[in-house]
Amino acid sequence: MKQNKSLETPQMAIDKSARFKVGDRVRVKDMPYLFYTRSQMYTRGVVGTIAACTYQDLIPEEEAFNLDGQVEQYYIVRFRQKDLWPEYPFDNDTLQTESPERWLELVSDESGPEQERKGSE
C-alpha cells in the first residue's frame, strides 16, 4: 500500500534543498501543460513573493499518474491582486496560492526577470 509521500519522515522526504526562501521575489513560469496541472492560468507570468516554505512532495503532474518521482519544495506565494487582474481597484488586497518549485523562477528586481541557473531548467 502506497502512502502519501509527504507523510514520510522528514529525513526520507527531504532529498532536495529549497531553492527559494521567504521574501524572495519569484515569477510563475508559463510552462507548457497538457492533461493535468495544478498551476493556475491566472498566476502565469506574474511576480509574487515567497510567503512560506511548506513541505516537499511529488509534483501533481506526476503523482496524478502514479509516478513515484523526485520530491520538490512547495511554497506559498503571495501576489498583489492589482498584479493579477487588470481592473482590480483595491491597492492593499493580496492573494496567496501554493506552487511547487519548478514553476517558479527568481526575479532580481521589479524591472524584469533574472533567471538563475538557466541552463539547469
Binding site: 495544478r38 513541505y55 512547495y74 492593499n92 492573494l95
Partner: protein, 248 residues
C-alpha cells in the same frame, strides 16, 4: 407516453404497455452501488472498511474548528502553538489529522495552516481547482464552496462575493484570498470581536461558525448560525446528523 401499437408486429417492442413501475433510482445511484459492490467483490476494500470510514465522515463537524478558535482566543500560549504547528495543536482539542487511516485521509493530508486575521488583514479561503477543505476541523464543505461559481469569482472579485455574504470591509483592510490549490489545508482564525470580554470558551465557540472559519463572515455576539437556503435531498443520508450544514 405514446400508446400507439400494432399487434402482430413481431412483439419485440413492448412500448404499447406502460413501462413497469420502478422504485425511482437515479443513474448515479445505480453507478455508485455497482462500483461499491464490485470493489468489495474484488477485494479492493471490505464493507467493514467502508462502514468505518463512513463513521469518521459522519463524525467530523465545524464545532471542532470553533473549539480551536475559542481556545486560541482565550489562551495565547495555545494560539502560539497553533501558529507554530497547527496539526499538532489540533490534538489538544481532540482532533487527530491522522485519523481514520493512521496516516491521514487521502484527500485532506496533514498540512494545516491557520490564517490569523488582524484588524487590518482579512483572509478568505477558496480552492479554485476543486474544493479542498480542512475536513477534520470543519466537516464536509458547503455546496456553494464547491461550485465553479464561487471558485471563479472569489479570487478576482473577493469584495463583491463577500458583500453578497453580507460582509463589507473598508479598503484599508487588506483582503487576502487563500487559494488552496495543493496539499496545505487552511482555516481562518478570525479577530475576536468586541463585546465578548470574560466569555467562556463555550460561549465564544458558539459565535465561531463555519462561515467565519472560511472567511465569508465575521463572528459577533448574537450570531450563532450561518443562514443559507437548503436544497433538500431526494434520498438523504438517514442515520446521522447532517454534516456540511451549519451545525451551530
Amino acid at each position: 407516453m405514446s400508446h400507439t401499437h400494432t399487434h402482430g408486429d413481431g412483439g419485440a417492442d413492448h412500448s404499447h404497455r406502460a413501462a413497469p413501475m420502478v422504485e425511482e433510482i437515479t443513474d448515479f445511484e445505480v453507478l455508485e452501488i455497482a462500483v461499491r459492490e464490485l470493489a468489495i467483490e474484488h477485494g479492493l476494500f471490505t464493507a467493514e472498511e467502508h462502514r468505518r470510514f463512513t463513521e469518521w465522515a459522519e463524525s467530523i463537524e465545524p464545532a471542532a474548528g470553533s473549539r480551536l478558535v475559542a481556545k486560541a482566543w482565550t489562551d495565547p500560549a495555545f494560539k502560539a502553538r497553533v501558529m507554530e504547528d497547527a496539526v499538532k495543536a489540533c490534538k489538544e482539542i481532540g482532533i487527530d489529522w491522522a485519523e481514520p487511516t493512521g496516516f491521514g485521509t487521502p484527500s485532506d493530508y496533514m498540512h494545516l495552516v491557520v490564517l490569523e486575521d488582524t484588524p487590518t488583514l482579512h483572509h478568505v479561503i477558496v480552492c479554485t481547482l476543486c474544493s479542498c477543505y480542512p475536513r477534520p476541523l470543519l466537516g464536509m464543505s458547503p455546496e456553494w464552496y464547491r461550485t465553479t461559481n464561487y471558485r471563479r469569482r472569489l479570487v478576482r472579485w473577493p469584495r463583491q462575493v463577500l458583500a453578497e455574504f453580507g460582509l463589507i470591509l473598508p479598503p484599508e483592510v487588506e483582503v487576502r484570498v487563500e487559494d488552496s490549490n495543493q496539499k496545505c489545508r487552511f482555516m481562518v482564525l478570525p479577530v475576536r470581536p468586541a463585546g465578548t470580554e470574560n466569555w467562556t470558551e463555550e460561549q465564544l465557540a458558539e459565535i465561531v461558525t463555519r462561515d467565519c472559519m472560511i472567511g465569508v463572515a465575521l463572528p459577533r455576539p448574537g450570531r450563532t448560525a450561518d443562514v443559507h437556503p437548503v436544497h433538500k435531498a431526494r434520498r438523504p443520508v438517514h442515520s446521522s446528523p447532517q454534516h456540511g450544514e451549519a451545525a451551530q
